[in-house]
């Protein structure tokens, strides 16, 4: 995924797994990371003496500041997200529907305490929403679904899904397989309960923004 991020992009990496993407970004890509608690130009996780309790990311983990960073308050920070200024955000998910509905904030289980944070703002606001997840649940069910059974985070917002078995484009036209990892399109189709289309061989890199 890291290599699919265009040079010069402004990117928000969600809490958890997506944060790891930063380890694969190269200096030449000149990516600027946003953290919704009020910063552009976030650097890697802080270690040892670098740790500063006033400098944390959205996951409340101490981070560092890169040259050219800037700080702003919460309304200004979410204005960046909600105003459509982020090129990409990368999020985890419970489920993604064929048309790009995202479910990643709430299991909906009775008694579960709901918590949403900035997930809905990222899902709705970023130009491209990339999801990172395993294709299957522990029970073997596809997380790419006809329509989400978990409470949704945003309608039709996901543009790409990166999984262990393949990379998918989602949107108004349904699901297109862009890349497979160690399996065929037919094998994927057996796992996923929605019709899959194969991407045309050319122009794949341009299909991110529907």
């Amino acid at each position: 995924m890291a290599r699919d991020i265009a040079p010069g992009s402004f990117v928000n990496l969600g809490i958890g797994q997506p944060t790891l993407v930063s380890n694969y970004l190269t200096e030449e890509q000149n990516i600027t990371l946003h953290t919704e608690n009020g910063m552009l130009g976030m650097g890697p996780e802080a270690k040892g003496g670098e740790i500063d309790e006033d400098l944390i990311n959205a996951g409340k983990i101490p981070v560092t500041e890169l040259p050219g960073a800037s700080y702003f308050h919460h309304a200004d920070s979410f204005a960046i997200m909600r105003g459509g200024h982020l090129d990409i955000c990368v999020l985890g998910a419970f489920q993604v529907s064929a048309t790009g509905d995202l479910a990643n904030w709430h299991t909906g289980a009775p008694g579960a305490i709901p918590a949403v944070g900035g997930a809905m703002d990222l899902a709705t606001g970023a130009k491209d929403v990339f999801v990172m997840m395993t294709l299957l649940t522990r029970e073997g069910a596809s997380k790419i679904v006809e329509s989400c059974t978990y409470p949704i985070t945003g309608v039709g917002c996901v543009t790409r899904v990166y999984t262990d078995k393949g990379v998918f484009l989602t949107g108004p036209d349904g699901v297109t397989v862009r890349e497979t990892f160690g399996c065929t399109l037919e094998e994927l189709q057996e796992l996923i309960p929605v019709p899959l289309k194969a991407a045309a061989a050319v122009g794949l890199q341009d299909q991110g923004a529907p």
């Binding site: 944390i56 008694g111 606001g125 945003g154 309608v155």
Partner: protein, 232 residues
Amino acid sequence: MLHFVDSVQEAVVGIKDGSTVMIGGFGNAGQPFELIDALLECGAKDLTVVNNNAGQGDQGLALLIKEGRVRKMICSFPRQSDSWHFDAKYKAGEIELELVPQGNLAERIRAAGAGIGGFFTPTGYGTMLAEGKETRIIDGRGQVFETPIHADVALIKALKADGKGNLVYRKTARNFGPIMAAAAKHTIAQVTEIVPVGGLDPENVVTPGIYVNTIVTVAGSGQSSSTAGKVA
């Protein structure tokens, strides 16, 4: 009118039962711990508290919740690994929760300070959190009507204040401070240092003194005093 007081106890003395209290901070950054402790001590109850979270561990807001002073939380992310006091009260039905997407929380607080009566936003459209809310399609996008969140009091933490009440913050500890200061009728700021009038560059003031009512110095109160010199 701006008042400089000598103690956090004095700073919170006017907070009444039933007040809506905004508390700054995201994680530990920018949390006005000493003011929250003073609020606990002063005994005010039936509070509606606005914060991004619903308390962590056994300190600050978590204790206020544990002691039953909070009738309602307005927040975006109550559930954390160490939010046991909120979890217990919530499961016992002893605390009300208004769950708000974080950006709507920030924008609703900003709207209160800016005199906006309400606004439409795409965030939350089509989700559980928009149920029962007015919606409309604007420029082809579904949008939800959200209303301002006003408060009686804001408790915030800043790095420095000058004699006019102008504030500057430090790194990501800025978070909710500036918008809560504007949204509350009465804003109480704890700061690490008070500098004379003229001691802050007018270009770099983040919260103008018009938004600040009470200031108290809390020595070394976070906003890492050890590294604060770098910021001035």
